[in-house]
Every structure is written in structure tokens, then in C-alpha cells.
């Protein structure tokens, strides 16, 4: 009897330690990255690092502005493409589709989310790049190699489809049927019900899904690295190449130990990503948890 209780107690402690250890990873990552960025933060302030656009590691000049803008362009394009499409898809699946169609469609969203980033990158190179180079860009600009923030945005948009669709579908499912019935019984069409009841009710959830998708797009590395063109200049049109932050980190890991302060600069880039994504994630999770709780009560 004593032995059983002892075993229970010891295991409880062990599990507590494991839980604390894995939760504290979040702190350790932040501290570790900050500690490594101290050398560069010593030389240049946060403001200078973020707003300067001169990137000459050999001369000790590290301006992250072009990379931040590259990230923003790519992410912006991705959200502009992905949000309407995903929202309409989620609405179709939850509000219109019959059970059979639902059963047919749902697996594909999951399959899409299972495809590894590098495959999206290969697809981008093989399909999106030629498409932009030969069919889209010629209508707008004189010449484009296809490697552009637009290509990155399209590839990212496809990557975040499953995330947005599944979260918005979850949120839509929580909307009480009575509300919809009330609207329908007043003679509203299904679309009017969606427009005036469902969407309004689901708005916080849609915002949360968008924020989460933005943070996913922010951190995506290899796919954008393969299609964005990686030119350290601020993009001015969708056909310009860009150089998002994660691509910068991934692309330079080889040489970062041979140039002074370079490793510190790259770790600062990782820290920047970490902080932004952490904030975005916390915001969206808080919104989603609130929604869940509202439903439960």
C-alpha cells in the first residue's frame, strides 16, 4: 500500500518537472536568443537595427529594414489571397455543403496541411514562378524572373489555407443554430443570414484565425526562401524580389561564424521573429479561448 502511494507521489513530481521543463522552453528560447543578440544590441540600438536599410555585414552594418519589409510584403500578399478564399470555403463547408460533400472535402484540407514546406517550395519553383514569369508579369511589367514577393505570397497563401479554414470552421460551428433559424424564419436568404448573423457573431474568431495565420506566414522559411529571389532591397511592387527575415537566417547559417557580429545579427533576427510571433500567438489564443469558454457557459 505504502509503495503504491510512494510511486504515485514520485511520478507526480517527475511529471511536474517534465511539464515545467517543457513549458519553460518558451522562456529559455527568448533568453537564449536575447543573450546572443546582446553584442549587436551593444553596438546599435533596436531602432537603428530595425529602421536602417544598409546591409553590409563585412563592414559591420546591419540594417534589417529591407528584410522586415520583405516579410511584411510576402505576409500581406498571402493574407490578402488566403483570407477571402479560406473564409468562403469555411462558410461553404459549414453552412451549405451536404454531409456527403463535407465528408469528401474535409480530408483534403488535412492532406494539404500535411504537405511539408519544402514541397510547397518545389511547387512554387516549378509552377508559380513560370506562371508569373510567362503569364502574369508580362501584362504589368517589362521583365520579371518570376522570383518575387508575389510568388512567395501565393505559395504562403496556399500553405495557410488549411490553418484558416479549419479554425474558422471550428468557430462557425459554435454559432447557435437558433440564431440562424431566427434570421431565416424572418425571411432572410441564407447569404443574408451569413452576412448579418453568422459573420458578425464569428468576427472575433475570424480575427483570431487571421492573426494566427499571419504569425504562421511570418515564420515560414524554406518555401519563401526558394521563391522570393532573396534580394536585400525593399520591394516596391509585387513583382520585385524580396528577402524575408526567416530566409535571411536560413540562407546565411554557413558563413555566420566567420564574420564578426554576423551570428549575433542573425540571432537578433530570430529574436525579432520570436517576439512578434509570440505576441501574435498569445493574442489569437486568448481570443479563441474566450470564445470557447463563452460556448461552454
Amino acid at each position: 500500500m505504502q509503495l503504491r502511494l510512494l510511486k504515485d507521489k514520485i511520478l507526480a513530481k517527475l511529471m511536474l518537472v517534465l511539464t515545467l521543463a517543457s513549458v519553460s522552453v518558451i522562456l529559455v528560447i527568448g533568453i537564449g536568443l536575447y543573450y546572443k543578440s546582446v553584442p549587436i544590441l551593444h553596438r546599435l540600438s533596436w531602432g537603428e537595427l530595425i529602421t536602417s536599410s544598409v546591409w553590409k555585414p563585412l563592414k559591420g552594418l546591419f540594417g534589417f529594414y529591407p528584410f522586415i519589409m520583405g516579410t511584411l510584403w510576402v505576409t500581406g500578399i498571402a493574407i490578402i489571397i488566403a483570407l477571402p478564399l479560406s473564409l468562403l470555403t469555411a462558410l461553404y463547408i459549414t453552412e451549405y455543403a451536404s454531409v456527403n460533400i463535407k465528408r469528401l472535402l474535409a480530408p483534403f484540407v488535412n492532406l494539404l496541411s500535411g504537405i511539408p514546406p519544402v514541397i510547397f517550395g518545389v511547387w512554387g519553383v516549378l509552377f508559380i514562378i513560370p506562371l508569373i514569369q510567362n503569364h502574369i508579369a508580362p501584362h504589368f511589367v517589362e521583365f520579371s524572373t518570376g522570383y518575387s514577393v508575389l510568388a512567395g505570397g501565393i505559395v504562403l497563401a496556399v500553405m495557410i489555407f488549411p490553418l484558416i479554414v479549419s479554425i474558422i470552421s471550428e468557430v462557425l460551428r459554435t454559432i447557435p443554430q437558433e440564431l440562424k433559424d431566427a434570421s431565416l424564419s424572418l425571411g432572410a436568404t441564407q447569404w443574408e443570414t451569413i452576412k448579418k448573423v453568422v459573420l458578425r457573431k464569428a468576427l472575433p474568431g475570424i480575427v483570431a484565425a487571421t492573426v494566427l495565420a499571419v504569425s504562421r506566414a511570418f515564420g515560414e522559411t524554406i518555401a519563401v526562401l526558394m521563391v522570393c529571389g532573396n534580394n536585400a532591397a525593399v520591394p516596391h511592387s509585387v513583382f520585385d524580389p524580396g528577402y524575408p527575415l526567416p530566409a535571411l537566417i536560413a540562407n546565411n547559417y554557413g558563413e555566420m561564424l566567420s564574420i564578426p557580429l554576423y551570428d549575433s545579427a542573425l540571432m537578433f533576427a530570430a529574436l525579432l521573429l520570436f517576439i512578434i510571433i509570440l505576441l501574435f500567438n498569445i493574442i489569437s489564443r486568448v481570443i479563441l479561448t474566450r470564445l470557447e469558454r463563452k460556448l461552454a457557459s
Binding site: 528560447i29 461553404y92 483534403f108 494539404l112 511539408p116 519544402v118 517550395g121 504562421r216 515564420g219 524554406i222
Partner: protein, 281 residues
């Protein structure tokens, strides 16, 4: 009146179109990979390691990367499972009742899940420098383990929550300790554990950014934890960057191999989830 009907029809068409684009993109991607990869596919790809000068178009396959990937993803999943199972049990069984605490922990893991793999890669690299580990299989496993722990914890957590409370109460009322109750729960969720393992393995095998700094790259199959290990996604990335057309072709074939592996894993986990929810009480 007619305007309202038209609006209804218009948006319904728009929704169907959007759904076709979203689900169709899956077929477009897989179709592109098959179309480009199949012509370069041969038995050598999966049975041979690269001959000398692989990068400039000499013979060989990507066996080193396939095995390396299985080592990294397998090692990380096993290690991750050893850590995540106790954590999931702890959250659900040991601190049951304190809703705020368990929900906060869940949220932390959700946030950890959202952290991009490049950050895990950079952090793994810092750990390796700190402990003096060179780019190796071990380094890769460490970084990828960090990446899959949140996935495993959250999946196991969801599965444990489907176990009916009556079952827990029954074992407790018979005088079982919490650990004995956990054993009952674990037996109940066995298919769910498989699902979690598959999900984690699928994520681990496809990820590049976390192994980029940590696992290194090698033309040989690693024989110890301290040797650098090639991984399939990284091999694809390198091959595609080659100027030689033949090597690029091999990159397409490698992409095909990875796609097939991942699709098999995803379909398996889908089937398991279906089965699991069928038996749910």
C-alpha cells in the same frame, strides 16, 4: 426580390469556386510533383547513397537522406513521446480540477506550437554551441524534439479528454492511485497515441528549417549519433539549387519520395482518427 436571389446565387457560386481552389490546390501541388518527379524516379534513387560528386551530376540516389530523415524524425518522435506523455497525463489527471492552471498550460503549448521551426533551429544551434556539440544526428534530434513536443502534448491532451469521466471515477472509486488511473486511461487511448506519433513523425520528417543548422549534411548513412546526417527535405533543397539539370531532376524525384512518405503518413493518421472516433463512447 430578384436582386436578393441573385446575391444569394452569386455568393453561393463564389463559395463553391473558393472551395474548388482551396481543395484543388492540393491536387495541383501533388500533381506537379508527380508530373515532374516521375520521369527522374528510379530504383537507384531509393537504394543507393550518392556516388562521389553527387552535386555535379554523378550517379547514386538519396538513400542517405531517406535514412537520415527516418533517424531524425524517429528519434525525435520517440524522445518527444517520452516527454509528452507524462506532460499530457499531468495536465489532465494530476491537476484536474484546477481549470485555470490546466488551461494556461494548454495555451502555452499552443503558443509553442506556433513558434516557427527556424526559431527552434536557431535555438537548437545555440544549445549545441553551449554544449559543444557539432552539427550531427544528435543535434538534429534535439532541435526536432523541441519542435514536436507541442504537437504531441496537444494531440495526446485532446485524446485523453475524450476518455469518459466515468471510467476515471470508476478506477478511483476502486481505490486506485492517480498513476493507476493514468494507466487505465493510457490503455484506453492507445489508438490516439498512434495518431499523435504519426502526426509528429509527419511534421518532423518534412521540416527543414530546424535541421538546417543542427543536423548538418553528409553523403553517408550516419552510423553514430555524433555524425552529421542528411535529411530528405534538405537534400531536395540542395539538389534544386544545383545548376546541373540532372541533379535538379533528382531533386524532383526526391520531392516525390518525400511527398509519398508524408501522404501515406497523413492518410494513415486520418484512418486512425476515424476509427478512434467510431469507438468513442
Amino acid at each position: 426580390m430578384r436582386k436578393r436571389k441573385f446575391e444569394e446565387l452569386f455568393f453561393r457560386m463564389l463559395m463553391i469556386l473558393a472551395t474548388i481552389i482551396v481543395t484543388g490546390s492540393f491536387f495541383l501541388i501533388v500533381g506537379t510533383i508527380f508530373y515532374k518527379g516521375l520521369p527522374f524516379m528510379n530504383l537507384d534513387m531509393i537504394t543507393k547513397t550518392p556516388g562521389g560528386g553527387f552535386y555535379i551530376g554523378k550517379e547514386g540516389g538519396v538513400l542517405n537522406a531517406i535514412i537520415g530523415s527516418f533517424y531524425v524524425a524517429g528519434g525525435a518522435t520517440i524522445l518527444g513521446l517520452l516527454i509528452s506523455t507524462p506532460v499530457a497525463i499531468f495536465i489532465n489527471i494530476y491537476i484536474d480540477g484546477k481549470k485555470f492552471l490546466s488551461n494556461t498550460l494548454r495555451m502555452v503549448f499552443d503558443v509553442l506550437f506556433g513558434i516557427p521551426s527556424i526559431v527552434y533551429g536557431a535555438f537548437g544551434f545555440l544549445i549545441m554551441i553551449y554544449f559543444g556539440i557539432r552539427a550531427s544526428l544528435l543535434g538534429g534530434v534535439i532541435a526536432v524534439t523541441l519542435l514536436v513536443i507541442p504537437i504531441l502534448v496537444r494531440t495526446l491532451d485532446e485524446v485523453i479528454r475524450t476518455v469518459p469521466n466515468e471510467l476515471r471515477d470508476a478506477s478511483l472509486s476502486l481505490g486506485a492511485t492517480r498513476w493507476e488511473m493514468a494507466k487505465v486511461v493510457l490503455r484506453q487511448i492507445r489508438p490516439g497515441i498512434f495518431t499523435a506519433v504519426l502526426l509528429s513523425f509527419g511534421r518532423a520528417i518534412g521540416d527543414v528549417a530546424s535541421v538546417l543548422f543542427t543536423a548538418g549534411f553528409s553523403d553517408n548513412v550516419p552510423t553514430s549519433l555524433h555524425e552529421p546526417a542528411a535529411t530528405l527535405p534538405l537534400a531536395i533543397f540542395f539538389q534544386l539549387g544545383s545548376p546541373v539539370e540532372e541533379v535538379q531532376g533528382r531533386g524532383y524525384a526526391s520531392a516525390l519520395i518525400l511527398t509519398i512518405i508524408v501522404l501515406v503518413i497523413t492518410v494513415l493518421s486520418e484512418i486512425l482518427i476515424k476509427k478512434f472516433s467510431k469507438h468513442k463512447i
